[in-house]
């Protein structure tokens, strides 16, 4: 995590866009309210320091996971509307990943559940979790150790498709499997 003090440049940029003669209202001493006898106000407490968030993912160490001819390069399980059950068509895919994880007990997997965009973001986050949990449970039943698996949700926040259409929504009702190094 890096801390960068961009406050002044952001304000300057905003002012350039707005009004070149406008001064910086954020500097200077506090406004004091003398009529109420109260202590000086917190208008200068309004300074905000910018933080830039960075991630550290740099890819998996296993080439077979990236080989497009290998089933292990396929990572997505799609779900029906309002459904949290892994469909039979994904059984070979889930089995292949289970086999890889059993053979590589030090490798971990994060399963990210996703939903379409309709409704509350936080409720969708909880629904996405149910999809990730369904994939995790299927892998567990195939012998993968609990300690290798983490199911999480991205809710509606990371759609693979952004049109407001049924075909797009169905692409977003999905569980994605990520390996160590990819998250």
């Amino acid at each position: 995590m890096k801390f960068q003090h961009l406050t002044l440049s952001l304000i300057a940029a905003g002012l350039l866009a707005a009004c070149s003669s406008a001064p910086n209202q954020n500097q200077g001493a506090a406004v004091e309210d003398r009529s109420s006898g109260a202590a000086s106000s917190g208008v200068d407490g309004n300074r905000v320091t910018t933080v830039n968030a960075n991630d550290g993912a740099n890819g998996s160490a296993y080439p077979e996971l990236r080989d497009p001819k290998n089933i292990l390069s396929k990572r997505s399980v799609l779900f029906d509307y309002d459904s949290y059950v892994v469909k039979d068509q994904y059984r070979p895919l889930v089995e292949a990943h289970a086999k890889f994880l059993v053979a590589h007990p030090k490798v971990k997997m994060m399963i990210q559940g996703n939903t379409d965009e309709r409704g509350s973001r936080e409720y969708n986050l909880a629904l996405g979790q149910k999809r990730a949990d369904a994939v995790k449970k299927a892998l567990g039943l195939l012998g993968v150790a609990e300690s290798q698996l983490e199911s999480v949700s991205l809710g509606e926040e990371k759609p693979s498709c952004t049109d407001a259409s049924e075909s797009c929504w169905s692409a977003n009702r999905r569980g994605d499997m990520l390996y160590s190094g990819e998250f």
């Binding site: 952001l10 209202q25 004091e32 009529s35 208008v43 320091t49 960075n54 936080e122 409720y123 949700s153």
Partner: protein, 428 residues
């Protein structure tokens, strides 16, 4: 005068298309008033004596604030200033139709600072309603104007104003997410966090110094607490699985959060530093979106009964009680600051709309005519509700009065704005 204004407000009907043109553009949130009470109280803010020594007129800020509230009709008095100490020219004020007038004097106070004195008068009764004196540096004309508007608003309505408050929201521009803080009028936007991954659910600490939020920068939802002035932040919840939906306790010590460490999404509480995790409620379904009420209840969304509905549970533990019964989708509850009503999002024939529930009478009212409303939050005086919606495929913020009459829209020229949270009153 207070009771008169309140009765006017009660009898008001929606009137449309009062547009406040903002000279600010681009990155700034521009506010447009899309509905106001028809019987707005006529108020004049005279130009203050000596305010031309400031970089910009403080009274411009005051007038814009009062106009934007939808409760007042601003009466022009012309450019000649009216000072705080001299006699008020009531004839001039009454001839323009104003029921109240604010007058003021700005005078140098040494060391580059200014003294500003404001007096508010009832123009009909020719009575003083109160005065306010402040010391300011010239570049604080905007903050000073908000405080004068708060003073006038409170004197005329009997309720505290919210012009000095701030709002938080998430701006998405292309692949970049920014958690921004702006003044309640949309000006002075500053970025608290910039990330390539989503940021959701910002929640203000009761003292306004910190925000809790969910960031996906670790490829999973993690709850952070972020000090706005210093940029210092700490992880408040990063358990195995998902961590989300932070809500501050009224004393600012604990956060209600949603964790999946033990299975499905369930309610827990943690200290703001991440220690002391405790279970708050248990169910066989999803429990999420907790919100603390001032009377010690936690409202939340649960699908334990089959569809997502709003429930509440005592913060100290106890049985959960169902709160919403109409319709098949009621989510995102936020209790009003006085605890008497609840705002939430209901689905009505495929439209998601901000809805108000009076907890005593059980009466509900849909407050908006939009269809993709999300994330409502009350202004600290309970008068307005800020929420996210979509217009022309773009995310915008909007605000509606608790009675549904006053409507505002806040948008930026490019990018999606979402996940608003109205901050608390600044501590004086």
């Amino acid at each position: 005068m207070t009771s008169r204004l309140l009765s006017l407000l009660r009898s008001a009907i929606p009137a449309c298309a009062l547009v406040l043109a903002s000279s600010l553009a681009q990155a700034q949130l521009a506010i447009e008033i899309t509905g106001a009470g028809a019987n707005r109280m006529p108020v004049a803010v005279a130009s203050f004596e000596g305010e031309n020594a400031l970089p910009r007129a403080v009274t411009d800020v005051v007038r814009a604030d009062l106009e934007r509230s939808g409760l007042f009709k601003m009466i022009e008095l012309g450019p000649s200033p009216m000072g705080a100490s001299g006699p008020v020219d009531y004839a001039r004020v009454r001839s323009r139709g104003a029921d109240a007038v604010a007058v003021g004097t700005v005078s140098p106070n040494g060391a580059g600072r200014f003294q500003i004195e404001v007096r508010l008068h009832d123009a009909a009764k020719q009575l003083g309603l109160g005065s306010q004196a402040m010391v300011m540096s010239p570049n604080q004309y905007r903050a000073t104007g908000h405080r004068i508007a708060d003073f006038i608003y409170e004197k005329l309505t009997g309720e505290p104003g919210v012009f000095s408050t701030r709002i938080a929201y998430v701006l998405k521009s292309g692949p970049r997410y920014e958690l921004q803080i702006a003044d309640a009028d949309g000006s002075n936007a500053q970025t608290a966090l910039a990330s390539k991954e989503p940021i959701i659910s910002p929640a203000w600490s009761p003292d306004g110094s910190r925000l809790a939020y969910v960031s996906f920068e670790a490829k999973k939802p993690v709850v952070y607490v972020h000090n706005l002035a210093t940029g210092q932040r700490n992880v408040a919840a990063n358990f195995k699985g998902s961590n989300s939906a932070p809500a501050w306790s009224p004393d600012g010590r604990r956060l209600a959060v949603v964790l999946t460490k033990d299975g499905q999404s369930q309610l827990y509480s943690v200290n703001a530093d991440g220690s002391g995790v405790q279970r708050l409620a248990s169910s066989s379904g999803i429990d999420t979106e907790p919100a603390w009420s001032p009377d010690g209840m936690i409202y939340f969304t649960s699908d334990r009964g089959g569809s997502p509905q709003i429930y509440r549970v005592p913060a100290g533990g106890g049985d959960a009680q169902r709160v919403t019964f109409e319709g098949g989708y009621n989510v995102s509850p936020r209790p009003s600051p006085d605890g008497k009503s609840l705002v939430y999002v209901s689905r009505n024939g495929g439209r998601f709309q901000v809805t108000m529930l009076d907890l005593a009478s059980r009466q509900t009212q849909i407050l908006t005519d939009s269809s993709k409303d999300e994330s409502p939050s009350f202004a600290p005086n309970g008068r307005m509700v800020l929420y996210a919606t979509e217009i022309g495929g773009r995310g915008v913020l909007a605000a509606v009065s608790a009675d549904g009459r006053v409507k505002q829209r806040l948008s930026v020229q490019s990018g999606d704005v979402r996940e608003p949270a109205w901050g608390p009153q600044p501590r004086n």
